[in-house]
Structure formats: C-alpha cells, structure tokens
C-alpha cells in the first residue's frame, strides 16, 4: 500500500464526504464548501491513482491544475448567487 495509493483512498473518502454533504446539507454556504471538498477528493484520486507505481506523471497534474482553476470559478459564481439571494432577503425583511 504505497503512500500515493493512501492519498488516492483519502481522496475517495473526501469525495464521498463532499458528495454526501452537497446533496444532504441544505445551507447554501456549506454546500459551496462541500463541492470544493468533493473536487479536491476527485483530484487526489486522479493523481494518487495515476502515480500509484511511484512514477510522477505530469499529465494528471496538468489536468488537476485545470480542475482547481475551474473549481474557483464555480465557487465565485456560487457565492455571487448566494450573496444576491441573501441581499434580497435583507431587503425583504
């Protein structure tokens, strides 16, 4: 059980935790945290699994780099929507 595979299995745990929390927790901000954790889990599995034989592989690393940038874009959009929804709440109250 090499170290990289340990990180791949941690990735599975994080993915499952994130998936469960995104689906079940109803509070919007917590859901943003959840799908970020889910994404990080998937990235860990991507690199951990690809490098389980100990050979460092640049292709999944480049893909995960793309994934992290996409994740921050999605997070910013989600937070903007939450901001507007809760600003309308404040005005409504």
């Amino acid at each position: 059980m090499s170290a990289t595979l340990l990180y791949a299995l941690t990735g599975c745990a994080l993915f499952a935790l994130g998936l469960g929390a995104t689906v079940l927790v109803t509070e919007p901000l917590r859901r943003v945290l959840a799908f970020n954790v889910m994404g990080s889990g998937a990235f860990l599995v991507f690199v951990g699994l690809a490098q389980r034989a100990g050979v460092s592989d640049p292709v999944p690393q480049a893909m995960v780099l793309t994934g992290i940038v996409v994740a921050v874009a999605a997070t910013a959009l989600a937070l903007a929507l939450i901001r507007r929804l809760e600003r309308d709440d404040d005005d409504a109250r």
């Binding site: 599995v45 690809a50 592989d57 893909m63 780099l65 793309t66 992290i68 910013a76």
Partner: protein
C-alpha cells in the same frame, strides 16, 4: 522509512478531519476557517505526491483566493446554522460510498500508464523543459484555452448577478497600508518570477496570476483600491487581452496547419507570450471575482 508513512497517515487523517469539521460543524465561521486549514493540508498532500505545481496552485487559489471569497461571503450572511436533521445522514452515506470506491481501487494492479514516457519523449519539441507546463500549454493547450473560457463565463456570471452594487471602498487602515506598500511590490516580483520559472521549474501562468490577484485583494482590503461596480472599458480590455492573444496564437492562421500548433523552433517563445498574456489577464480576472463581490465593512454599518 516509517517516519514518512506516519506523516502521510497523520496528514490523511488531518485532511478527513478538517473536511468533516468544515462540512458538518455547527458554526459557520469555524467551518470556513477549517476549510482554509483543509486547503493548506491539501497543499502539503500535493507536495507529498511530488506535484509542486498543484501545491502552488492549491495554496494560492484553493486555500488563498477561495478562502478570501468565503470569508468575505461570511461577513454579510446571517449566521443561520445548518439544519441538524439531515446532517447526521451525511456520514453513513459517505462511509458506504468511500468503502465501495476504496475497495475497488485497492484491487487495481500496481502499474504506471504510458503517458509519462510519451511526455518526456516529446518534451524537446514542446519548447519548455518543465513537463507539466509542456502538457498544460502545448500538448493539452486546448484544455487550457477552454479553461480560460470557463473563467470568463464565471466572471460574466458574477458581474451579471451582482451588477447593481455600486463600487465599495473599505475604510483605509494606515498601518495595514504600510504593510501592503511593502508586500505588494514583492508579490508582483514573485508573480514575475513564477511566470518566468514556469518554463523550466514548477510555476506558470495560473500560479502567477493567483499571486497578482492576491496582491489586488490585499490592496482592496486595506482600502487602497475600490471594489468593482461595472468594469470600465480599460479594465475589460485588460481582461480580454490575454485570452485574445491566446486565441490569436492558437487559431490556424498564417500557414499554421491546425489549431494550437506551436512550431518547435519558436514554441518556447510562443508559450512565454501566451503565459505572459494569461498572467496579466487572469490576474485581473481572479481579482475581479473577489472585487466584484466586495461588501462594505460590516462593523461600520453596525450590521454585526
């Protein structure tokens, strides 16, 4: 050898603990702080997986920018705590899914795919010596082109959603401004170094852009620059310049046979050009994701 195994074990446990704390904890403020801790632990994990580029990106973007966005979002929202009812259902579901995934992945034969050798074989013609940058900007440059489009879509979505906000300028704090005056030039220097180093060492356009964005976030927080209302034409041109340059280089123009063909003899120069353009534009873009969302300081408006 076992010290490394202990370290990995503790780090893996720490990751899961921080993630569970962030997602299932009661108080929102603690959750965001734990999420930032989770981002920093992820950075360590990427270093252990010998992926320095991702560690840089995770620290700058995953923990840094996302953390700043979350803390800023936390300021205004009412401290409603998540409904207890459905949260206990998360753990059993997570444990079963994780068990299934782990069981299947453990059984896989331990071998490495063909691509690492293919990359090192094609590296000489890629124009750069660092494999990750070669994959990111030459072999799979098409993914990066679409990824820049994703960032643009997100910025347009953010600006479209909060467009009515007039630009906000936080109260200026003289001491912090002094610190910012020292830090910001150093951050710009670091961004330039990361951009230049990307060709032969871990670094590159996205990490450099994230550092530039961090400098802009710092300036905004200390009240030296204001948030964004409706971005002026100059700002929009700055953001569009990098992607347009990338498109111009990528498009099959002037004899280049196909999309994104970088002739080997001056591929290095072209990649540096693309990366420089992207660093500047994505720096503004990532900063824009934060500045468009900037809110007035809750303490001043007494909305505690």
């Amino acid at each position: 050898m076992n010290v490394a195994v202990v370290f990995d074990g503790v780090l893996a446990a720490g990751l899961v603990w921080a993630a569970a704390g962030a997602l299932l904890g009661r108080d929102r403020y603690r959750a965001v702080i734990l999420f930032i801790v989770f981002g920093l632990l992820m950075t360590l994990a990427w270093v252990r997986l010998s992926a320095p580029d991702i560690a840089l990106a995770e620290a700058a973007i995953g923990a840094g920018l996302t953390g700043a966005l979350l803390l800023d979002a936390l300021g205004g929202t009412t401290a409603a705590t998540a409904g207890r009812a459905r949260r206990w259902m998360v753990l059993p579901l997570a444990v079963t899914v994780a068990a299934v995934l782990a069981a299947v992945l453990r059984a896989l034969p331990v071998r490495s795919g063909p691509l690492p050798d293919a990359v090192s074989a094609a590296l000489p013609e890629s124009g750069v010596t660092h494999p990750v940058t070669a994959v990111l900007l030459n072999f799979r440059g098409y993914d990066t082109l679409l990824e820049v489009a994703v960032l643009l879509a997100a910025l347009l979505g953010v600006l479209g959603a909060v467009r009515h906000a007039e630009p906000v300028r936080l109260a200026s704090a003289p001491v912090l401004q002094a610190a910012a005056r020292v830090l910001v030039p150093l951050m710009m220097l670091a961004a330039g170094y990361l951009l230049w180093a990307g060709a032969h060492r871990p670094g590159g356009a996205f990490q450099a852009a994230a550092v530039l964005a961090a400098a802009a976030v710092l300036l905004a927080l200390v009240g030296m620059i204001s948030g964004w209302g409706r971005p002026s034409l100059r700002l929009r041109c700055a953001i569009a310049a990098g992607p347009l340059l990338f498109l111009a280089i990528a498009a099959p123009l002037a004899g280049r046979a196909a999309l994104l063909v970088l002739p080997p003899q001056h591929a290095g120069l072209l990649i540096l050009l693309i990366e420089a353009g992207l660093t500047l534009s994505l720096g503004f873009l990532l900063a824009g994701l934060f500045l468009a969302l900037l809110r007035s300081d809750p303490v001043d408006t007494g909305k505690r």
